[in-house]
C-alpha cells in the first residue's frame, strides 16, 4: 500500500507492506520494520520501531491525522496513493514510450535487461536497494527496452527514470484509448 504523507508541507511517498505480524515501511530510501499495537481506547497506540516502544496518540481532525508523541504534536496529511490507472490503462502508455521510475531513493544493484531486449508486462527492469532491502522494479507495459538510464552501483532519487520501455502496440489496450497517457494519471 502506498501513501502520500505530508508533514509541515513536505510530502513523502511511503510504502507499507505486511511482513508477518510486522509492517515494512519504506520511505526516503530507508525501510523500517514497524509494529503498531492498540494501547488504550481508540486513539492510543504503541509504536515499536528501532528497538523502542513509543506511546503515540493518533486521532483524525479536519481530514488530517494528529500524532501526539510526548509533548510534541505533529499534523500529518495521509492520502492513499491508489494505482487505479494500472487497472484502467494497464499499459500506461502515452506516445509508446513508458518511463519506469524508481519507487524510492536507493542504490541500483542490477539492470537485468539491455537495450532492445523484450520484456513482459510486470517484468523486472531494475533492482533497487535501500536499507538492505532489495526491490524489483517492474514495467507496467510489455515491449522492448529502449533506454537504460542507470547502471549498477548508481544512487538514484525517488521518482528518477531508470529505464524506458517502447510499448508493443499489439498487446497494448492503452492504444485504443489515446487519452490514457501516463501524464493524465500522475
Amino acid at each position: 500500500m502506498i501513501f502520500d504523507i505530508t508533514v509541515r508541507g513536505q510530502q513523502r511517498r511511503v510504502e507499507v507492506d505486511r511482513r508477518g505480524g510486522d509492517l515494512l515501511v519504506r520511505m526516503e530510501g530507508a525501510a523500517e520494520v514497524v509494529r503498531l499495537e492498540p494501547a488504550a481506547g481508540s486513539e492510543w497506540w504503541r509504536l515499536e520501531v528501532g528497538g523502542r516502544a513509543i506511546p503515540v496518540r493518533l486521532h483524525a481532525r479536519d481530514g488530517e491525522v494528529l500524532a501526539t508523541l510526548g509533548a510534541v504534536r505533529v499534523m500529518v496529511g495521509v492520502r492513499r496513493s491508489l494505482p487505479i490507472r494500472s487497472r484502467r490503462f494497464p499499459a500506461a502508455e502515452g506516445d509508446g514510450r513508458v518511463e519506469v521510475r524508481a519507487p524510492m531513493p536507493g542504490l541500483v544493484t542490477a539492470t537485468p535487461l539491455a537495450h532492445g531486449e523484450a520484456v513482459e508486462r510486470g517484468g523486472t527492469v531494475a533492482i533497487v536497494e535501500a536499507m538492505k532491502m532489495q526491490m524489483e522494479v517492474p514495467t507496467p507495459a510489455a515491449g522492448r527496452i529502449e533506454e537504460v538510464r542507470v547502471q549498477p552501483g548508481q544512487e538514484v532519487a525517488g521518482g528518477q527514470v531508470l529505464v524506458v520501455v517502447r510499448a508493443s502496440s499489439a498487446e497494448d489496450p492503452g492504444k485504443a484509448n489515446p487519452e490514457g497517457s501516463e501524464k493524465a494519471h500522475p
Binding site: 501513501f3 520511505m27 503498531l36 506511546p55 504534536r73
Partner: protein, 492 residues
C-alpha cells in the same frame, strides 16, 4: 458538635472521589449527588447512596444550595462537604446549612464572609503585621477605573466567590479594564453564582506560594508548610509542589508564622490556604482560600497529614489532629493537573467523550481522579479530570517518577494537558526549581521535534494501513476520507 456519621458530598469529579475515600477511612457513610451527565461517575459508584440532580447546568446541580440541603436532610446526612468551587466559599450556603441543622464542612459562614470580603481580609492581615498588596473591596463598574488608578497598574481582577482561575483577569492598561471587568463578572457569575469582583495590584516577576493551615473550633491554628504554585496559565494552576524549591528557610518560617497570624486575625476554623506573592526576598499576603484546595495532596504527602480527614474531624467538633511540632515535612511531592484542554490549541476546552482510560500507578505515584471510560466532558464544568501526584525523597526522584507516570497515562477520545506537563518536566528552569508565574508562557503552541516528525509519519502510515486492512464499520467519528478510501478500495 457530634462526630459526622453520614456525609453528603455536594460536588463531583476527583474531589468528590477524594472525599468518598476519606469517608471510608473514617467509617463515615458517603452520600453522592450527581447531575445527569455524571450518572455512573466514580464518585457516584463509590458512595453508599446517590441522588440525582435535575439538570447539568451548575445552578440546577452542584450550585443548587436549597435543593442540596433538602436532600441532605431527607437522606439523614449530618453534614455536607462542599469540596472546592461551587458552594465551597458561599457564606449564605454555609449559614443555611447550619440553620437547617446540617454541619457545613468548612469555616462558619461568618468567617467565609470575612475571607470573601477581600478588603476585610487584607485589613486583618495588615493588622496582624503581614505585608499586603494594595487592593480594593468588591467594586462596581463605575468605580473600577478610579480605584484601579489609585492602586496602580497592572491590576488583577479577581472574583469574590472563589478561585480556580475563574474570573481572574490581568489588566495592564486602563483602556482594557472595562472589557476585562465584563468577562470577569460573567465568569464569576457562572462559576460561583456571584458576579462580584475586586482589584488587586500585580507584580512581576513573582512566585505564587501558599501556606496550608488547619484551625479548630477551640482556636488552635497550625500551618503545614507551603506549596509552590507558579506554573499557571490564565491564572489557572497547572503544577504545584511542596516544598517550594529554593525558598529561603527563614522566609519559609516567616511565611508560616504570617499565615497563622492571618488565620487568627480572621478567627479562622477548619482547613484553609493563605496565598502569598513572593518577589525576591519580599512576600505579600494575597487572600485566604477558605476551602480544601485542588493541590492539597502535595501537602498531605510531605506532612503525612490527611487534610480531608482533618476537615471532617474538625467539623465534627474534634481538636486539631496534630500539633505544630509534629509537622516535619520531608521529601518532595509534585502535582500535575490533568485537564480536558488542548495544550496544542491554546488550551481550548476539549468537549466530548472518553473511550478509554489507563491511569498510572507504581512507586511514588498517587492519582486522584474522577475519570472514567465513557465519560462525557461537558461545557458546564471545570475541565479538571484528574491529578497525578509524584513524590520521592528528593525533587529529582519525584520529577523522574512524574515523567514515568505521565508516559503511562493514556486518555483516549479527548485532548488533555498531559503533553504540556511532559514538556514542563523537561525544561531546565523547572528541573532546577527556578521558575516564576511566567513559566508556562514558554510553551507557546508546543514544541517541535524532527525526530517526532519521522515517528509520526511511521505511526500514521502504519495506522492508515491498518485501517484499510482491518475494515471497521463507520462510526460517528469516522473521517469521510477513510470512508472514501474504503469505497475506492472496494472498486478495485
Amino acid at each position: 458538635m457530634p462526630p459526622i456519621r453520614r456525609l453528603l458530598i455536594a460536588n463531583r469529579g476527583e474531589i468528590a472521589v477524594r472525599i468518598v475515600r476519606a469517608c471510608r477511612d473514617l467509617g463515615i457513610a458517603p452520600l453522592a449527588v450527581y447531575a445527569p451527565i455524571d450518572a455512573g461517575a466514580p464518585h457516584v459508584r463509590g458512595a453508599d447512596e446517590a441522588f440525582a440532580l435535575p439538570g447539568d447546568a451548575p445552578r440546577d446541580s452542584y450550585l443548587n444550595g436549597p435543593l442540596l440541603i433538602g436532600l441532605a436532610q431527607r437522606a439523614g446526612a449530618d453534614a455536607i462537604h462542599p469540596g472546592y468551587g461551587f458552594l465551597a466559599e458561599n457564606a449564605t450556603f454555609a449559614a443555611a446549612c447550619e440553620a437547617a441543622g446540617v454541619t457545613f464542612v468548612g469555616p462558619p459562614g461568618s468567617v467565609l464572609d470575612r475571607c470573601g470580603d477581600k478588603a476585610a481580609a487584607r485589613a486583618a492581615a495588615a493588622s496582624a503585621g503581614v505585608p499586603v498588596l494594595p487592593g480594593t473591596s468588591p467594586v462596581t463598574d463605575d468605580d473600577a477605573l478610579r480605584e484601579a488608578g489609585a492602586i496602580g497598574f497592572p491590576v488583577l481582577i479577581k472574583a469574590v466567590g472563589g478561585g480556580g482561575g475563574k474570573g481572574i483577569h490581568l489588566v495592564r492598561a486602563p483602556e482594557d479594564l472595562p472589557g476585562a471587568m465584563r468577562l470577569a463578572r460573567g465568569e464569576a457569575q457562572a462559576a460561583f453564582g456571584d458576579p462580584r469582583v475586586y482589584l488587586e495590584r500585580w507584580i512581576e516577576p513573582s512566585q505564587h506560594i501558599e501556606v496550608q493551615i488547619l484551625a479548630d473550633a477551640a482556636g488552635s491554628v497550625i500551618h503545614l508548610g507551603e506549596r509552590a504554585c507558579s506554573v499557571q496559565r490564565r491564572h489557572q494552576k497547572l503544577i504545584e509542589e511542596a516544598p517550594a524549591p529554593g525558598l529561603d528557610p527563614d522566609l519559609r518560617e516567616t511565611m508560616g508564622r504570617a499565615a497563622i497570624a492571618v488565620a487568627r486575625a480572621l478567627g479562622y476554623c477548619n482547613a484553609g490556604t493563605v496565598e502569598f506573592l513572593v518577589s525576591g526576598d519580599e512576600f505579600y499576603f494575597l487572600e485566604v482560600n477558605a476551602r480544601i484546595q485542588v493541590e492539597h495532596p502535595v501537602t498531605e504527602i510531605v506532612t503525612g497529614c490527611d487534610l480531608v480527614a482533618a476537615q471532617l474531624a474538625i467539623a465534627g467538633g474534634a481538636p486539631l489532629p496534630v500539633r505544630q511540632e509534629d509537622i516535619r515535612p520531608s521529601g518532595c511531592a509534585i502535582e500535575c493537573r490533568i485537564g480536558a484542554e488542548d495544550p496544542h490549541n491554546d488550551f481550548l476546552p476539549s468537549v466530548g467523550r472518553f473511550d478509554g482510560v489507563v491511569e498510572p500507578a507504581g512507586p511514588g505515584i498517587r492519582v486522584d481522579s474522577g475519570l472514567w471510560a465513557g465519560q462525557s466532558v461537558s461545557r458546564h464544568f471545570d475541565p479538571l479530570l484528574a491529578k497525578v501526584i509524584a513524590s520521592g525523597p528528593t525533587r529529582a526522584v519525584a520529577i523522574a517518577r512524574m515523567r514515568r507516570a505521565l508516559a503511562e497515562f493514556f486518555v483516549s477520545g479527548l485532548d488533555t494537558t498531559i503533553p504540556f506537563h511532559l514538556w514542563a518536566l523537561e525544561q531546565p528552569g523547572f528541573v532546577a526549581g527556578r521558575y516564576d508565574v511566567r513559566f508556562a508562557e514558554g510553551w507557546g503552541h508546543g514544541p517541535d521535534s524532527p525526530g517526532a516528525d519521522r515517528l509520526a509519519v511511521l505511526a500514521a502510515a502504519a495506522w492508515a494501513h491498518r485501517r484499510i486492512e482491518i475494515p471497521t464499520l463507520p462510526t460517528d467519528g469516522a473521517s469521510p476520507r477513510w470512508i472514501a478510501a474504503a469505497r475506492e478500495e472496494g472498486l478495485r
